[in-house]
């Protein structure tokens, strides 16, 4: 490892010291370089030109069944940082519930680097801006009142060490981008149509992805045209109808009502006071009918996704597993820490091993249970056209505008950018202001058509908020087109 040798030496000594001080486990993440760049063009003006650089360490220790965490940006004060983590664990042990336990793991030595061709931070700023400017120019149109084009890059080098001897060096590299056009409709309401950089799950994650005109720029004409259609459209009349979710909306539906409620810390009640709980209880794992036979939710190791990172922040290598198999809940998102508690509460082994879901948003945040790539497997109900042909009375929905979800994720209400009405197997017109709502299990049990590979897209979520202290995390969701029967849509007053 080519980590700054003094930091490495200090960290190893301190990990040993923690074991001598009675800790059963300790780990450290050293962020040697954590860079973020955000560029936002609004109506052609570069309103955000933000670059951030971070460096520091985060230390976690487990003593007497309690976890303590401390972080510092001062690399001359590493031993003191360990002392604070230890004091925090000792204080937490005074009000101990179910003792935390890391289990045991074989030491891992590894390296991970995502595939990319062009490091976005090595691309000169003028080149990045000229691409965004070109896209912005293409978004200009008589119907468009406001335009936004944004790009967001992340690059991190993280060294992970734990008291079991695991040592991992990994790089994170993410490229996010989006474009939005806005205009007011005849009622004066602001409408928008947007596109977020997505993929079929393959390819590379560097600047070349964004620079490929077929990946990003190609969407400008379509979103302008669709905005024009939205502005001229009527509001979706309320009523029950079939809902066909395109991946642009389906990924958020999955994120909010499969991903979040299957995070083990939520299930165990550790997020209750902030983000909320879960309608899932540990004893339901293995038996709960979450959805119809058609529903297969899986943690995937997707080639090109912000949810693919090699090893999680406890050193567990990523692997693939089902969360929901043929509609039955079979697993949850978890890290090493809470397995014992979940299995004890369930009265049997419901989670056998860490799902490599421990993730922290920066050196100064502690790892928590997180989504990685929570995906829906593609099905065999054909293309989008096939699903439309099979639909008598429905709407196709795309891209979230607003969302509000019950604290246990048991019910939800979403607003989308656009709806296409489907009557007797064909698209008849566009509606604006579409909304739909439902109760999670009832909704997934109404899933009756799942599109094939051609409909499956990997969407990136760059801003999943969770935890206290709060953390923003990047995750991926690969989802196909999905049809749900008889859903409550639209707003009736």
């Amino acid at each position: 490892m080519n980590i700054c040798s003094t930091v490495e030496k200090t960290v190893r000594t301190q990990l040993k010291r923690m074991l001598e001080a009675g800790c059963s486990f300790a780990d450290v993440r050293f962020y040697d370089e954590d860079r973020t760049e955000r560029l936002v063009l609004y109506d052609g003006n570069l309103e955000v030109n933000y670059q951030r650089w971070e460096k520091g360490i985060g230390v976690r220790v487990l003593k007497n069944g309690a976890i303590g965490f401390a972080a510092t940006a001062d690399l001359n004060a590493i031993p003191e940082c360990f002392d604070r983590a230890l004091a925090n664990a000792e204080a937490a042990a005074q009000l101990l519930g179910f003792p935390k336990d890391m289990g045991s793991a074989q030491p891992v030595r590894g390296k991970y680097q995502p595939r990319f061709q062009q490091d976005p931070f090595a691309v000169p700023l003028p080149e990045k801006l000229s691409l965004l400017k070109r896209v912005d120019e293409k978004l200009k149109d008589n119907t468009v009142e406001h335009r936004m084009v944004s790009a967001h890059f992340q690059k991190r080098r993280i060294f992970y060490y734990n008291s079991e001897g695991t040592e991992i060096e990994r790089w994170v590299l993410n490229t996010f981008a989006g474009m939005t056009v806005m205009a007011r409709d005849k009622d004066g309401k602001a409408q928008r149509r947007s596109y977020e950089l997505d993929s079929d799950g393959t390819g590379t994650r560097g600047f070349e992805w964004l620079a490929n005109p077929q990946a990003f720029e190609v969407h400008t004409e379509r979103i302008k045209r669709e905005l024009g259609e939205i502005v001229a459209a009527e509001t979706l009349p309320p009523g029950r109808r079939d809902v066909i979710l395109l991946p642009g909306q389906g990924h958020l539906q999955v994120h909010e009502t499969i991903g979040h409620p299957l995070e083990l810390d939520r299930i165990l009640g550790y997020e209750l006071s902030f983000a909320g709980g879960s309608h899932v209880k540990p004893e339901m794992i293995g038996t709960l009918r979450y959805g119809s036979e058609k529903l297969n939710a899986k943690v995937m190791v997707v080639e090109n996704s912000p949810g693919t990172f090699g090893y999680d922040d406890e050193g567990t290598p990523q692997y693939e597993y089902y969360l929901i198999k043929n509609g039955i809940l079979v697993n949850v998102l978890c890290c090493r820490l809470d397995l014992g508690e979940a299995n004890t509460k369930a009265g049997r082994v419901v989670v056998a091993r860490s799902g490599a879901s421990a993730r922290a948003a920066g050196f100064y945040k502690t790892p928590i249970d997180r989504m990685t790539n929570v995906c829906i497997e593609w099905g065999n109900d054909g293309t989008l056209e096939d699903i439309i042909r099979a639909t008598e009375n429905g709407v196709i929905l795309d891209m979230p505008v607003s969302w509000s979800i019950g604290s246990n994720r048991e019910h939800f209400h979403f607003g989308c950018e656009i709806a296409w009405e489907v009557r007797d197997g064909r698209i008849t017109r566009v509606f604006k202001n579409p909304t739909y709502q439902g109760h999670t299990l009832e909704f997934y049990n109404s899933l009756d058509m799942v599109g094939d590979r051609s409909t499956w897209r990997l969407f990136q979520v760059a801003n999943c908020g969770k935890g206290e202290p709060n953390q923003i995390m990047e995750v991926g969701h690969g989802v196909p087109v999905m049809r749900f029967r008889n859903v409550l849509t639209g707003e009736g007053r």
Partner: protein, 459 residues
């Protein structure tokens, strides 16, 4: 004032920028944070962070570039590099179609009045002991479990620019405790929240009493599923703060107003937009709020009325929006405001408020609120903690999760009464840097014709 070593480095960096002919702004942020997190009636996590951050921004004509560093500041070389990076970023940037307003500290500020060293260094053991007392007192009453968090810390903010020799500095402490009691069998949740500026502002006994005031009604009665439709609602502090945040977001940002996207865009200042019982001010001098004395364009922050007795008075302009639309910046180059919803003449206590309400829903807390349609101010969100059905002026049952979907103008036009007593409602987030924020809101707000759009069979 800021620690001499770092202050001198920053002053040196400013002088260096001047010599280089750069228009530079420096903003330094340092926090010492600690948090305990409770779950299942125990401490699930205890954290401590000591972090320094520096934002450098350089402006050259119509171009702006920046560089942010999260690392310990130990040498002038670090600052010089940050400045050079920001300058390079600026040079490579795009010209705006307006002249950006360069930051300048309007008047020197050195404010440490909000700092309490005892709160900065409060130990996790002391926090754990207080929580343990609450848990010990109430857990045996039922199948109860506690969760929550208690975040405390000290924050320093220091801002200066090459425009003049003034410096703006503030140091303060803040804390927020949230305790949630959940009945494991019946699934209802009660919450008690405390905002603090100093150590020792509340005791375990006060928290226990607040829970005890609500417990009997939850313990003795099953949940009530109300009807969809318009109802009288008695809002509590957290829900009022959520409504105020949505209101400001949807109606009082200069950019949204100018672009016709705000629900106030069709109004002129002087129009009556809300009930005369509604007054909204961004007021850093209010004793309930944390009171940020300057913004990160150097403006001195002063009371800034948005709505006075229902009359639309102002919208806010950050320096970018002001420059774009030819306005004056209003001291809003910052994320954490000091919003105040003016008190009224209603009784101070909740019991009298319920008597006044007669038949109503008591919704003190709104969960997961969102503005699906900012141009009409339409919001949606669900009831959560401490919600009650009120009949004939008395609480009679806990309320199942009920969704409100209505517009801010509707709710704020249908105000029946406002409490005479104010409450500090902590609205801080701990995303990224520590940034204390509280609102001063009336203890309750009674509104008619609030639209309940969905009701659940569960809490």
């Amino acid at each position: 004032m800021l620690e001499t070593r770092i202050r001198n480095l920053l002053l040196e960096a400013r002088d260096y920028a001047r010599k280089q002919g750069l228009n530079a702004e420096f903003s330094f942020h340092r926090e010492r944070s600690s948090l305990i997190r409770l779950g299942n009636s125990a401490i699930a996590l205890s954290t401590a962070e000591e972090l320094s951050r520096l934002d450098v921004s350089v402006q050259e004509g119509r171009r702006v570039g920046s560089w942010t560093l999260t690392a310990d500041i130990t040498s002038f070389d670090q600052l010089r590099e940050a400045l050079n990076r920001a300058a390079e970023n600026c040079r490579n940037s795009l010209e705006k179609d307006y002249e950006p307003i360069f930051g300048a500290v309007e008047e020197p500020v050195d404010d440490t009045t909000g700092f309490d060293p005892r709160l900065e260094t409060i130990s996790p053991v002391a926090k754990s002991e207080l929580c343990a007392r609450v848990i010990k007192a109430l857990k045996p009453r039922g199948t109860y479990d506690f969760s929550g968090s208690w975040s405390t810390g000290a924050t320093e903010m220091y801002y200066l620019t090459t425009a003049n020799d003034h410096e703006a500095y503030r140091k303060l402490t803040d804390g927020r405790l949230v305790l949630v009691l959940k009945d494991q069998v019946k699934k209802w949740e009660l919450a008690v929240e405390k905002t603090q500026k100093r150590a020792g502002e509340f005791t375990a006994e006060e928290i226990i009493q607040e829970f005890e005031a609500l417990l009997p009604i939850y313990e003795k009665n099953p949940g009530y599923k109300t009807e969809i439709g318009n109802q009288r609602v008695l809002f509590g502090p957290q829900a009022i703060a959520q409504l105020v945040s949505l209101c400001v977001w949807g109606g009082f940002f200069g950019r949204a107003y100018e672009e016709g996207r705000a629900f106030t865009s069709r109004n002129r200042f002087g129009d009556k937009i809300f009930s005369e019982m509604v007054t909204l001010i961004d007021d850093p001098t209010n004793p309930d709020v944390f009171g940020m004395p300057f913004d990160f364009n150097g403006k001195r922050r002063r009371p800034f009325p948005l709505v006075k007795n229902g009359i639309f008075t102002n919208v806010t302009y950050d320096s970018q929006t002001a420059a774009k639309y030819g306005k004056q910046p209003t001291g809003h180059d910052l994320n954490n405001w000091d919003l105040v919803f003016g008190t009224g003449t209603g009784p101070a206590d909740l019991k009298s408020a319920m008597e006044l309400a007669g038949n109503a829903l008591y919704i003190p807390h709104l969960h997961y609120v969102h503005l699906p349609d900012p141009t009409r101010g339409i919001f949606t969100g669900s009831s959560r903690f401490n919600a009650l059905l009120i009949r004939d002026g008395r609480p009679v049952a806990p309320l199942f999760s009920s969704r409100i979907t209505d517009s801010i103008p509707n709710v704020f036009n249908n105000v029946v009464a406002v409490a005479a007593r104010s409450v500090a409602q902590n609205e801080s987030s701990t995303y990224e840097r520590r940034a204390p924020e509280a609102q001063s809101v009336p203890a309750w707000l009674l509104c008619d014709q609030v639209r309940i759009s969905d009701v659940a069979d569960s809490f």
